[in-house]
Subunit: 238 residues, 2 copies
């Protein structure tokens, strides 16, 4: 009965990016190399697919899932509406694929960045930079906002996101924190028990920016630094 809530078909082989870690594989208008890595036809087709995804991100993040018109997505991607259905089964699949393509690559970066035994403070400094530069200042911020805002009405999306992102991220962070705790860099095991508290200011900043930035902007970087300063022990008194 509900239009949005249905479970959507199996995620399939998840044709993500395979190789590079962070950058989204945007092969925007590559000049048609006539000899071929791939036939000119397939290339053009892939370009279109990307254009549709890009347009979809714009529309979905401006209007939300339910209120987005595929006619608008098509117009923005400079494509006929029917073309969308050659690449994606339906509106919902398009939405899910969008999330998958944008978010997938980021997790690996985090996993690599935090799988180290540098002092916690150094790791967090690096994480702040990665977060600000690769998420907060890019369209990925909008993707995350989309997950937060559409997720509650999108069980399939929430589940995918939990499986592919949250559980991995949480595991990684928890392990990192446990090691830091054993090294005496944390006053309590509170962070180990509630790893959500580490990224909390990032989440809050994303929400805040979507709602209240025009009234009172936040300095994410400074806020995250301040937060981490409080969470980490004074590092054995001077």
């Amino acid at each position: 009965m509900p239009k949005i809530t249905r479970a959507a078909k199996a995620p399939g082989p998840a044709r993500l990016a395979g190789a590079n870690p962070i950058s989204t594989p945007r092969r925007a208008k590559g000049t048609p190399a006539p000899s071929n890595p791939v036939g000119a036809r397939a290339r053009r087709s892939a370009e279109r697919r990307d254009a549709i995804l890009a347009a979809a991100l714009d529309e979905f993040s401006a209007r939300g899932f339910a209120a987005t018109r595929l006619d608008d997505v098509a117009r923005r991607a400079d494509v006929a509406k029917g073309t969308i259905y050659l690449h994606f089964a339906d509106k919902e699949t398009l939405f899910q694929e969008l999330i998958r393509v944008e978010i997938g690559p980021v997790v690996q970066v985090l996993e690599i960045a935090s799988h180290t035994d540098m002092p916690l403070r150094q790791v967090t400094d690096r994480l702040i930079e990665v977060f600000v530069r690769e998420v907060f200042e890019t369209r990925r911020k909008d993707v995350i906002r989309l997950i937060l805002t559409e997720g509650p009405r999108f069980p399939a999306l929430a589940e995918f996101y939990y499986r592919e992102v949250i559980s991995r991220v949480m595991t990684t962070i928890r392990a990192m924190l446990r090691r830091a705790h054993e090294r005496g860099e944390l006053r309590t095991d509170a962070l180990v028990r509630f790893p959500q508290l580490l990224p909390a200011p990032g989440i809050v900043a994303i929400i805040w920016s979507g709602l209240f930035d025009r009234f009172e902007p936040v300095d994410v970087r400074a806020m995250m630094r301040a937060h981490f300063d409080m969470l980490l022990a004074p590092g054995s008194a001077p």
Copy 2:
């Protein structure tokens, strides 16, 4: 052109609650109540209005603004669709009024609770209890989730919420924290500069519960306690 994104008429004089602190005020419409206790007719009308608001909360928080059908709201409220339009100008007004009625009264509680010179730890303990009992374990949690999820596409809502809630809450919290800092209960002024960090775990918990509770529930109370423990200085060793 967009259906949802339009700016909505001026919020008006914000006829909120006046008197009691926490419980939602029934009888929003200015009931003259001249002679008898309350005209049976007016009372019935007010009941309907409330029923509509209650039903609207259910539907909106289950489906989101755009995907909610007023036919469903009407059915759930046991009322004909036309009746909704006797009480609210349109779908958007209904939505805004819902937020207004549910959230208005809570702010006062916070303002009162934190306008004290108890030790910060005691205040926060009390705030945790209030938050958990009056927000997290009630439908107000859903209202807040609605603001977070629909706000980005609802400039008028975000503005109302900023003016009536956020700015007041932030001012109150900031003042409280400044006093605590002057009393030496805080290690740094970080919290004074970023008061958002105090309620951060509450926000995160609300989002988390809407997305991932079925995979991995959070203990809000414990998480907030853990968080506050880290933020507050070790309170002059015992």
